[in-house]
Subunit: 141 residues, 3 copies
């Protein structure tokens, strides 16, 4: 068994869900991955990861609205120095994922037909976000 | 180190939590796993995974009700073509887990006494769901 | 590739977020880990794990309040024999994480500058909690 690691840098436009599946897929191919495990890790606490439907963009818009309902900017909070959108961003990150693990078969993630991998930017303004990718397993023959 | 992968197919009766621990445990035993890491990955965006209490079935009923409160069918949404229960199912999936990772010691998951692994069906109607299992580590001597 | 596993026992004071990053970091160093994957697994269903901001303690206080809003003790529930705080604790656990996976580079977790690893005690009273740590990868030369 072998392993390869890299870091992706993603520029976000502010509050949005960004499909990063194609970039991850390309890296898996370039790194020669065969069978194994892919770990995706985001190095932030006000942006997060999720695997969600990639067919209808309305799903992403509805989901961002649902997160706003679950962690509204109007909720009382102590931590406010970084802006009204900051504490809700931390809560939304805690409710979704900082790391994802996906089995890889013959160099392809075993995603279902409608599954895409999304970086969720929870802050209102654009940010540059870092994602670590780690593949562990066999390389292709 | 070695690895084994398989896919389980689970028929759900609609909205429910289904304990899949025994099936996963059987596969670990059959595959000869020793020490290592088990990854469980669900290939869907309207059903998800969680590790929860397996002693009192009331916990599962209360949890399904709590998910309904957090992502109600009455919330306004754009994505509606697949039924009123569809967008809430996506939100509930994002709030729980698409993948779980569990250390394995001497062929047994290191679950606590009261922990069971559940597939959560968030859609109202029955579905067939696919779960990928990946064990990486040492095989039993 | 090699692996090392251990179990940490953490005493909690009741409802709180406890930074366990330093203990995990020490174990990684002692175990001689190089490049690889760290899995952190909590063996409970009323306490959980999250990666969150470690700079301003107000973030943790606000987050605990947000969890109380999402899973209030006043919500009707069937499962009540273990106290009013028990069912909300299960719901909060399901909404956060039972397992975390973090890439490790040259023996250090690839955490971002502001990321800390927290055990979240969701029960009101003190508990002793068990966390399993598994490192898989290369050892330092």
């Amino acid at each position: 068994m072998q392993q390869c690691m890299t870091e992706l840098s993603i520029n976000t436009p502010g509050r949005s869900m960004i499909d990063v599946s194609a970039q991850i897929d390309s890296w898996l191919t370039e790194s020669g991955s065969g069978n194994g495990l892919l770990t995706i890790f985001i190095r932030h606490t006000s942006a997060s990861l999720t695997i969600q439907e990639n067919a209808d963009p309305d799903v992403q818009a509805d989901m961002l609205d649902a997160f706003d309902e679950l962690a509204p900017e109007t909720a009382p909070s102590r931590h406010g120095a970084e802006g009204l959108d900051d504490m809700p961003a931390h809560i939304k990150s805690a409710l979704t994922s900082t790391s994802l693990t996906i089995p890889v078969s013959a160099g392809r993630m075993t995603l279902g037909t409608w599954q895409g991998i999304y970086l969720i930017e929870h802050r209102a303004r654009p940010h540059q976000r870092q994602i670590v990718l780690l593949f562990m397993g066999d390389l292709r023959q």
